[in-house]
């Protein structure tokens, strides 16, 4: 479609809304000790901002703070209360 008309066409792109991590007031922090690597938090993150836990490598989840909006769902849904929401910047 190289010579086509000028009309609104967009390619996929990470961060199309910018660094959405900026939107956060509260920040999720995981306690790797408490985390049982169940990935429920990962499943429910609307922003895909959680790096999966890996049971085999015994790795807890971690965050992509660049994009995590701090909604708090992960903390709410974690069965082990392994995630705490802390004030951004604190």
């Amino acid at each position: 479609m190289t010579e086509g008309p000028s009309s609104p066409i967009l390619p996929p792109m990470e961060g199309s809304a910018g660094r959405t991590g900026d939107w956060r007031t509260l920040k999720p922090v995981v306690d790797p000790e408490l985390c049982i690597r169940c990935n429920i938090c990962w499943k429910f993150c609307p922003d895909n901002a959680i790096y999966r836990a890996d049971r085999e490598k015994d790795q807890a989840i971690s965050y992509d703070y660049e994009y995590c909006k701090g909604c708090g769902i992960c903390a709410e849904e974690c069965p082990k209360e392994a995630i705490t929401m802390v004030l951004e910047g604190d």
């Binding site: 809304a17 910018g18 959405t20 900026d22 939107w23 007031t25 509260l26």
Partner: protein
Amino acid sequence: MIEIIQISRGGSGGVTGAKILADAAMHEDKFGYSQAIPKYGSERRGAAVEAYVRFDNKPIRLHSPVYDADHALVLDESLIDRIDFEKVSKDGVVIVNCTKIPEQFKGSGRKIALVDATRISQELGLVLSGFTLVNMTMLGAFAKGTEIVSIENLVKAIQEFWGEKRAPKNVEAAKRAFEETKVVIA
């Protein structure tokens, strides 16, 4: 004409704040006319939102955003860089929600009005679904910092907007900010 640019985060009440600031200026004898223009876009909670306010002593016929502001209101310190301060008057005041002079302004010679609006608002319970409503608080700081609207007219505007039931807390926030705001030269 006085022109003000405001930056805030969606959810912190910036748009309402700009409107009430315009209301307050209307009550000022020296103005009588004002305007508040929110810049609409995807106004998601947490995303940056600009708003523009104008005061004048005659009807304002401009409909454009403020390009060259006299004063700047920054409701969230992290948003400072979203404003092009080249275009904000060096003689004006920058009102920022923080406790010490932000890095960006150090040595600029600018008049900075500092206030810990987040704390004040939180202490007063001005929190909605996790977001701290710093808008009224920052207006108190604006009144103090710029001295172009009186705290009386500001309070009047706040009362008119929020009505009997919800006004007191908001008035309190503005008043406390008015007292606590420190004006410094950076």
